[in-house]
Symmetry: C2
Subunit: 340 residues, 2 copies
C-alpha cells in the first residue's frame, strides 16, 4: 500500500475489496431478509422476491452511501438493488439481473438518482428487459436544489430526498397499485421533495487514500453533492441555526409551502456528524417551519444517504397531500429500518 | 469564541448550549414517544410513564453518546433517563426526578455504566428515593474488557454492551417480572457480555474545541474508552480482519464460549466510522465465530453507543442461554430503534 493508503483511518482489508467484503458481511448478517442474485453479490433482492402480482421496484448506484441504496430493500420497501463500486455505477447487466429476479409479472419500476452513469446503465437494462417482455418504467430522483437552478429541475442530482420516492412508491406497490400508479406516485414525490446539503469536511475514497478536495479550517460548503460535487457557496462555518435557516430558505424558495400545509422532514447525516447535531438542526428547522405555520407531519432524523466519513448533513422537505401522507404511514421493514 | 472553537467542524449554536438545544430538538421531534419531567429537560420519560404495576428501569449518563442513553427509552425498553452535560454525569436530583416520574409501584431498577460520577449520583438518588418509599435496585454495567484485567471485572467501565442489559431487563419487566427478577436478568446479561473497542481518531468536546489527545497518522488504539480513556495497546493500523481477530480473541479469552453455544453480536460504530466498515468487521467476526462452532443467534450493527465524531468501533458478544435468547426476541420501540 502507498503511504497515503497505509495512513487511512479505515477498517478495511484491501481498498479494492471494500465492496465485496461489505456485501459478504451484509449477506451473512441479513440472510433472513436479503438474498444475492448474482455470484458476485452485486445484485440483491428481498428474500421473498419475486412477489407475484406486485409491481417490483429496483434501485441501484455506487457504494459508500449506506444505508443508500441497499438498506432500502425489504418488506414494504424496494424489491432489489444493483450495487456498484465506491461512488461508481453498477453495470447494466447487474441491473438486468436484479430486474429478472424481482419481476413478479406486474412490471418493474426503476427509481434512482440522476447521475450520468446510472442513467445510461439503467436505460440499457430497461431495453434488455423489454426484449424479455418485462415491462419497465423509470423515475429519476432530482431533489438536490443546489445542483442546478430553477427551471432546470430535471437536470438536478438525486440525494437523500430519494428516500421519499422509495417510501411512497413502495407503499403504493405494497397496496396493490399498478405500474402506472406506482410510477405516478414516485413522480409525485419527486415533484414535491427538495434537499439542500452542507459539508464541513471531505471524505476519503479507499482506493485513493486521501481527500480528493479540501474544505479549509473554519469553512463549510453549502450545496456540496454526496460525491463531493462542488456546492454553490463556500464560507465561514455558521451556527446550526444559521445553517438551518439557509437550507430551509433555499428549499422553500424552490418549493413553496403554504401556511397550514403539511410536510415531512428528513435530517440526514452525511457520515461523521453526531446525531446530537442533527437534533440541534432539527430544532431550528422545526422552529422556522412553525413560524410560517407549516406543520411537520412526520420526520426522519439520522443517516439515510451518507458519503463515507464526510462531515455534513442535508435537510429534505416533502410537501404532502392526502395521498402522500397516507403512503408515508404504511409500515416497512428492511435490515436497516423498521417503521410500524 | 476562541480560534479553536471558531474552527470546530460542528453544527452547533453555542458550545455551552449543545445539550439544551439537542434536547429541545429531540422533544420537538418525538413528543409522541417521550416527555420531559423537568423544566430543564434533563430528565425524560416514556410518554406513558408511570406504567402502573410494571417494574420501571432508569438509566442516565453524560451526553455525546447518542443513541446512548436517551435513545433507549420507549415501549418495551427503558422508562426514563437522566441527561448530563457532554461526558458529565447528571445530578442526583435529576435522577430522583426520573425515578419519581417512572415509578409505577413495582419498584425501579437503575442500569448505567460504571463511572465514578454516575455511581455517586445514582447511589444518592437511590437513598433519596428510599426516603419516599420507592424501592430502588441497581445494576452497574461493566462490559469493557480492556478497562481492567480479569479478576477485577466489577471495576470495569460500561460501554456498548450495556445495550444488552437494557434489552433483556426491559423485556423481563415488560413481561411482568418482579424487581428482583428484572435485576437478576440485568446481572445475568452483565455477567455474560463483554466488549472490546478500537479507536482511530479522537473526538472534540464542543466546550474545548480541539482534541484532548491525539492518535498519530497510521495509528490505532485498542481498548480506548468512549470518553477517550487510554486503551491497552497502541500500534499501526491493521486490516479489518486483523482488528476483528484481536477484539474477538480478547473477548473470548475473558468470556469462554463453547462450541455449539449461541451468542448475540453487537458491532457498534463510535461516530465517524462508515456503516460499510462495520459490515466488513461483522464479516470477520462472523467467520471467526463460525470457525469455532459458535452460532450468532442475532446481531446488531450500527451506532449504539458513540463518542461524538470519534472514528472507531467496538465488538460486544453476549453469551446466550434460553432465558436471555427469549428476552432478546421481545419487541421494543423507541424513537431510535424498532424491533418487531
Amino acid at each position: 500500500m502507498s503511504q497515503d493508503k497505509a495512513k487511512m483511518k479505515k477498517f478495511i482489508n484491501d481498498p479494492e475489496k471494500v465492496v465485496d467484503d461489505m456485501l459478504e458481511g451484509l449477506l451473512l448478517a441479513h440472510s433472513d431478509q436479503l438474498k444475492s442474485v448474482r455470484k458476485d453479490n452485486r445484485a440483491l433482492a428481498r428474500i421473498d422476491a419475486p412477489v407475484k402480482g406486485k409491481v417490483a421496484i429496483a434501485t441501484g448506484g455506487g457504494s459508500g452511501h449506506l444505508p443508500l441504496f441497499l438498506g432500502y430493500v425489504g418488506k414494504g420497501m424496494l424489491d432489489g438493488v444493483a450495487v456498484g463500486d465506491i461512488f461508481a455505477s453498477p453495470s447494466s447487466q447487474q441491473m438486468l439481473d436484479v430486474t429478472r429476479a424481482i419481476n413478479g409479472g406486474a412490471g418493474v419500476l426503476y427509481i434512482y438518482g440522476n447521475y450520468g452513469g446510472d442513467v445510461m446503465n439503467f436505460d440499457m437494462a430497461a431495453e434488455l428487459a423489454d426484449l424479455e417482455d418485462i415491462r419497465v418504467e423509470t423515475v429519476v430522483a432530482t431533489d438536490d436544489v443546489a445542483s442546478m437552478p430553477k427551471g432546470h429541475e430535471h437536470q438536478r442530482r438525486g440525494v437523500a430526498g430519494m428516500f421519499y420516492l422509495y417510501k411512497t412508491a413502495s407503499a403504493k406497490a405494497e397496496l396493490g397499485g399498478s405500474l402506472e400508479e406506482v410510477k405516478r406516485i414516485a413522480e409525485l414525490a419527486n415533484a414535491n421533495v427538495r434537499t439542500m446539503g452542507v459539508a464541513l469536511t471531505p471524505c476519503i475514497l479507499p482506493a485513493v487514500g486521501r481527500p480528493t478536495f479540501t474544505i479549509g479550517d473554519g469553512e463549510m460548503e453549502i450545496g456540496m453533492g454526496i460525491h463531493g460535487e462542488p456546492g454553490i457557496q463556500r464560507g465561514t462555518i455558521e451556527t446550526a441555526d444559521e445553517v438551518a435557516t439557509s437550507l430551509v430558505t433555499a428549499i422553500l424558495a424552490d418549493l413553496p409551502v403554504e401556511e397550514g400545509q403539511d410536510v415531512s422532514v428528513l435530517i440526514n447525516g452525511l457520515g461523521a456528524t453526531p446525531l446530537e447535531e442533527l437534533y440541534i438542526v432539527y430544532r431550528a428547522v422545526h422552529r422556522q417551519l412553525a413560524e410560517k405555520g407549516i406543520r411537520i407531519y412526520s420526520r426522519y432524523i439520522g443517516e439515510f444517504a451518507t458519503s463515507l466519513e464526510m462531515t455534513g448533513l442535508s435537510v429534505s422537505i416533502l410537501r404532502l397531500d392526502d395521498e402522500l401522507r397516507r403512503l408515508l404511514d404504511v409500515p416497512f421493514q428492511t435490515p436497516f429500518y423498521t417503521q410500524n
